[in-house]
């Protein structure tokens, strides 16, 4: 019988976020009139779960609520509704902070203190032995800067220091907000390798990043956020399939090709051609279609299932065009996509 209990316990997700809600308060112009405070952007009804050793990529346009979601999970902000569970048990903010390592997006380390001093201080804050500080410094590649004043560190070095702080106490869950900012390509690759090795040790990781190329190579699952809500969540394949990318094919060929003779107009997503070659992105290009094209005399060079990028998924999930994404940064924007009965306004 005990084996059954162990099996059941192991089946619980390491981290479970259930209908999490938090909205920032927009302070009234006159501080005394608190009743006139309004709610602004935030996070609305976010639900997802992660198993031990999974890496979740959090993507979304600026102001989508990624940082707020990470701060809620990190136990920094107090949730207004919903639950965060650790292996099935509702966790308090203090419990969350005990097992979560958090790397915020912007930490501008400055002053005359040194990376070693900072790591030692945060070891005290985390109730960890300060003699682990040098190991962490080595782990994040700051050995050469161990006694360098903070104001002399480059942006990449500062990022490494923030990561070092997040790694204090060997956290079970790691939250990384824009970790690739300021990292050079080698540091970025080395950072990804470090994350993979942490994953193999069973660390659950959530990474929010605009560096979608780095992210897509790293994550097991993705979560797409838009206006404070999770609009898609799952493996890349699941999300691609739900967003209709699973039956898209890229066909490239030489010479001339009458695409409309082989595909209906609504199945042609993209078609480009020159006198020598052509390229088409079509929906539902089965082997029969391919056979028909070849029989028709067209010269096909390649026929590959289309691998959507994270940008494609993001655009498809949010319905936004690139231009709109770039400019939709207003902090007041939070238009509920789903109904929410207990809204205050």
């Amino acid at each position: 019988m005990p084996h059954v209990y162990i099996a059941l316990a192991m089946a619980e997700p390491r981290l479970e976020v259930v209908e999490l809600k938090y909205r920032h308060t927009i302070s009234p112009r006159i501080p005394l009139f608190r009743r006139s405070a309004r709610y602004g952007s935030g996070v609305l009804d976010c639900t997802f779960s992660l198993q031990r050793g999974e890496i979740l990529g959090l993507v979304g346009a600026n102001g989508a609520g990624k940082t707020t979601l990470l701060r809620l999970i990190a136990g920094i902000l107090q949730r207004q509704a919903g639950e965060i569970r650790l292996e099935g048990n509702i966790a308090t903010p203090l419990e969350l902070r005990s097992i979560i390592g958090h790397m915020p997006e912007h930490v501008r380390w400055n002053g005359s203190r040194t990376p070693l001093g900072i790591i030692e201080e945060f070891c005290i804050l985390s109730d960890e032995a300060t003699n682990t500080a040098e190991k962490i410094i080595n782990l994040v590649g700051l050995t050469g800067q161990i006694d360098e004043p903070l104001h002399r560190l480059s942006q990449g070095m500062r990022q490494r220091l923030s990561l070092g702080v997040a790694l204090i106490g060997s956290p079970d869950i790691l939250l990384l907000d824009e970790p690739f900012n300021g990292l050079d390509p080698i540091a970025s690759a080395s950072f990804q390798k470090l994350l993979k090795s942490l994953q193999q040790k069973g660390v659950t990781i959530i990474v929010s990043s605009h560096f979608v190329h780095d992210l897509s190579q790293l994550v097991d699952r993705i979560a797409i956020m838009h206006r404070g809500q999770l609009v898609e969540e799952g493996t890349m394949e699941e999300v691609s399939s739900r967003l209709g990318f699973s039956d898209l094919y890229r066909i490239e060929g030489m010479g001339s090709f009458d695409i409309e003779a082989h595909f209906d107009e609504e199945h042609i997503i993209e078609y480009a051609h020159s006198p020598e070659s052509w390229s088409a992105l079509v929906r539902g290009a089965s082997q029969q279609s391919l056979q028909a094209i070849i029989t028709g005399g067209a010269s096909i060079v390649s026929w590959t299932p289309y691998q959507p990028s994270l940008v494609d998924l993001l655009r498809s999930a949010t319905g936004l065009e690139l231009e709109e994404m770039s400019f939709e940064v207003s902090p007041q924007i939070l238009v509920p996509l789903r109904g929410d009965g207990d809204e205050d306004e």
Binding site: T25, R71, I76, L94, R97, V107, R108, G117, L125
Partner: protein, 278 residues
């Protein structure tokens, strides 16, 4: 080897202290502190000094009492300058977010913050106060009693604590540096310069003759209104060792005001940090 919560608070406070004690702002303020605390004591220790009203300080505690004017001008602004960005600076840089994501409770972190900033201000001021006592001894060959010295040190300590707490509260509200320093200096200005105006206005509204040093009604009103100002409570505490000064405020009232001025801002700051969103 893990540390106890109290030891962690003390270590974190010592980190803040070390950072501030050797900072540029301390180096800039140190000559001002020296001028205003031991400098005033040196001046008031002159055997031939005659203060306005024909007052001539006759013992060490009286000299310390008059030196306290220098403490009010310099120590308070020093505490404000040390603590004004205690929270806002880290909030702006993002370090506060990292700090609040650590498993140490926010109340312990706040205690370390207050303790560290208080030490950073109090230690140089204490050193200056000791120099003031030395100056009195050198010029007048007299020393305050142990109780008088203790009273002076405690009074300076709580005064620095109140200004530290007020500055940290302001800093917790500020999202940029200028707001917190404006609040800190504004508070200092109100209690150091404008309080006399507030007292006069209240006296006028109450029908009490303003600024009559021999009018018992004015003296009592001024004494009670001083309980509402940290500088006034500081003077009330010093006056417990000055038998010649009687302003009609019971010692128990002074002790109550000290407790209130210490507990209320501390509570507000703790509550503020508990609910702080970034």
């Amino acid at each position: 080897m893990r540390m106890s919560e109290i030891k962690r608070i003390l270590v974190l406070a010592s980190i803040i202290r070390k950072e501030h004690m050797f900072s540029h702002r301390t180096k800039i303020m140190l000559p001002i502190l020296l001028l205003f605390i031991p400098g005033f004591a040196w001046g008031f220790s002159d055997p031939n000094v005659v203060l306005p009203g024909g007052i001539q300080p006759s013992n060490a505690m009286e000299i310390l009492y008059y030196t306290s004017i220098g403490v009010l001008f310099s120590a308070t602004i020093f505490a404000v300058l040390i603590a004004h960005d205690g929270i806002s600076k880290e909030r702006i840089s993002g370090v506060l977010e990292l700090r609040l994501s650590q498993p140490m409770s926010r109340s312990s972190q706040t205690t370390a913050l207050v303790w560290g900033h208080w030490q950073s201000s109090f230690i140089p001021i204490l050193a200056c106060s000791i120099l003031a006592i030395v100056a009195i001894f050198v010029r007048r060959d007299m020393l305050p009693t142990i109780v008088e010295m203790l009273c002076f040190v405690v009074a300076v300590g709580v005064l620095v604590l109140w200004y530290t707490l007020l500055s940290l509260i302001a800093s917790s509200y500020a999202t940029e540096q200028s707001t917190s320093i404006a609040f800190g200096i504004g508070t200092w200005f109100l209690f150091t310069f404008l309080w006399a105006l507030v007292t006069s206005m209240v006296a006028f509204a109450s029908g009490v003759a303003v600024g009559q040093p021999n009018d018992p009604e004015w003296i009592q009103l001024e004494g009670y209104l001083d309980l509402l100002s940290p500088n006034g409570v500081f003077h009330h505490l010093l006056e417990t060792q000055m038998p010649t000064i009687e302003r009609g405020v019971a010692t128990s009232m002074t002790i109550f005001a000290i407790a209130l001025w210490s507990i209320a801002p501390w509570y507000i700051l703790q509550r503020r940090i508990q609910h702080l969103s970034l």
